[in-house]
């Protein structure tokens, strides 16, 4: 079993196997609302391949990153709800 990497989502520490995509790791951590739509609806990943842009989060202060295209890295700080 490879060592898990730690990252935070809205300040909460989560763990995932290295190589997992951030979107997959967040779903496993129980996060379902990744962003808020224009009218405030919660949205989460849909296409899993970088097409739909519904899994956008801020990673290490950089907005609008697609969580499905980012491998989870140790120490990543993720903010949802943008």
């Amino acid at each position: 079993m490879p060592e898990l990497v730690e990252f935070t989502v809205d300040g909460v520490t989560c763990r995932a196997a290295p190589g997992t995509s951030l979107a997959a790791a967040m779903l496993d951590a129980g996060v379902t609302a990744f962003r808020r739509s224009r009218t405030g609806e919660p949205r989460g990943p849909v296409c899993g391949m970088g097409i739909c842009f519904e899994c956008r989060v801020a990673i290490d202060g950089i907005a609008h990153r697609r969580a499905c295209l980012e491998p989870v890295r140790a120490g990543m700080t993720v903010r949802t709800g943008e």
Binding site: S37, V46, G48, I51, F53, E54, C68, E70
Partner: protein
């Protein structure tokens, strides 16, 4: 990748799925300088998406090994955003633009999933079918979660099968096409023993769950952290509880880059000759953009395209076989008109801009819809709502809008300035 903002190559390939990988290996075998670009961190595309090559089927593992030994330059996590002139591709990576100068271009951009709006399709935990599959391959856990797989097309079977293998409880697989047409399609696979064996294996993978044809999702409602799914077979309506929904209505060839390159498109697919050459002589295309036909066909087309793009005289029947298969697929899994009645006026159609169906006038063109409502103007650039609106409102495809992927505003201007500085 070097820091240089201009890269030179003989063959540039966009998309590192089976077609793009095979094209890169074939182009290198002809001695051409070759560059392969993809938006994902690892090669493989959707079908060969992996965290560890050991998870891949033998053919995928072999091709990814061949790629890494081929000497092709691999540029990951990069998006093709524009083709401003012949021989020039502009791409973006981590917010920075760079130019690739090429002699031949191979378009291997694959396909996207057709998602159709219904009340509740925007709820969290409602995914595409390929979408949930992609997340599973990227490491998501579905153990002990209930899943309803629905929509249309041959993708439902392998996805239900792999979800079940990962410990999910498949409540139902609902295929909208009528049983007669689905079984006739399956019957025709007798002439294609590999595909038939595959289908049988997939069905065996979730044998305790029902595979119901002529059945579709009407709406999804949240119930605490679970979902209540309303289904119908056109006569009866019932509801079921689930944790996750995977729903997708087949694959749509991604022809945006090809359209931008000026390639002829016929019936939604890029037209190619026996060497995979498009109507633009220096531009080749392989895999799903020429017609949805799966990974084996994509590899066969990619080998031809890569060799031809490198200047070799190589021809074959892969593309015409793919077109015939795609046409059979379209007939078997044609979407039933009932699906047009699912969204109500308040149902969101454009997820990026939150445009509801009621805001879109009957009979508007694709262009009018964009101008009046901003539907299709958000970050996904219509990749989700445009195929849906083509079905719901029978709008034709609109001209491709630039950039192909959202780029930071400064980036394009920045790039334009640098180009001026060069001249």
């Amino acid at each position: 990748m070097s820091d240089a903002s201009v890269l030179e190559t003989d063959v540039a390939i966009v998309g590192a799925g089976p077609a793009g990988i095979a094209a890169a290996v074939a182009a290198r075998a002809e001695g051409a300088r070759t560059l392969l670009l993809d938006s994902a961190p690892r090669p493989g595309g959707q079908i060969w998406r992996h965290r560890d090559p050991a998870q891949l089927p033998a053919s995928g593992r072999r091709w990814i090994e061949r790629l890494s030994g081929s000497g092709a330059e691999w540029i990951h996590s990069a998006n093709a955003i524009d083709l401003p002139a012949p021989g020039v591709l502009i791409a973006e990576r981590e917010g920075r633009a760079f130019t690739i100068r090429w002699r031949s271009l191979v378009i291997a951009t694959g396909a996207t999933e057709r998602l159709l709006p219904f009340p509740g399709w925007t709820l969290p935990n409602v995914f595409g079918v390929g979408g949930l599959q992609a997340l599973l391959k990227a490491g998501a856990s579905v153990a002990a979660r209930r899943v309803i797989v629905a929509g249309s097309g041959p993708l439902l079977l392998p996805v239900a099968s792999s979800l079940a293998a990962a410990g999910a409880t498949i409540r139902l697989v609902a295929e909208q096409a009528p049983a007669l047409r689905v079984y006739r399609f399956a019957g025709a696979l007798w002439s294609d023993p590999v595909r038939l064996a595959q289908a049988a294996r997939y069905r065996a993978g979730f044998r305790r769950a029902r595979y119901r044809c002529g059945t579709w999702i009407v709406r999804v409602d949240p119930v605490g952290s679970a979902l209540s799914v309303t289904l119908t077979d056109g006569r009866r309506i019932w509801t079921d509880r689930t944790d996750l929904v995977a729903v997708g209505y087949g694959l749509v060839p991604d022809v945006r880059l090809a359209r931008l390159a000026g390639c002829s498109i016929a019936s939604g697919c890029v037209a190619v000759d026996r060497s995979q050459r498009t109507s633009v002589p220096s531009v080749f295309c392989a895999g799903e953009p020429t017609g949805i036909a799966g990974a084996d066909s994509a590899v066969a087309q990619g080998r031809l395209a890569g060799a031809a793009a490198a200047g070799a005289r190589r021809t074959g029947g892969a593309a015409s076989r793919a077109r015939r298969f795609a046409a059979r697929l379209d007939r078997a899994f044609a979407l039933r008109p009932d699906l047009r009645a699912l969204p109500d006026p308040a149902t969101i159609v454009c997820r990026c801009e939150d445009v509801s169906l009621g805001e879109i006038g009957e009979g508007w063109s694709a262009r009018q819809i964009k101008l009046y409502t901003r539907a299709g103007m958000g970050p996904c650039q219509g990749r989700v709502c445009q195929p849906a609106l083509e079905f719901l409102r029978r709008t034709g495809a609109d001209a491709v809008r630039l950039p192909l992927f959202p780029a930071p505003v400064g980036l394009l201007a920045d790039h334009a300035n640098r180009d001026e500085g060069d001249s």
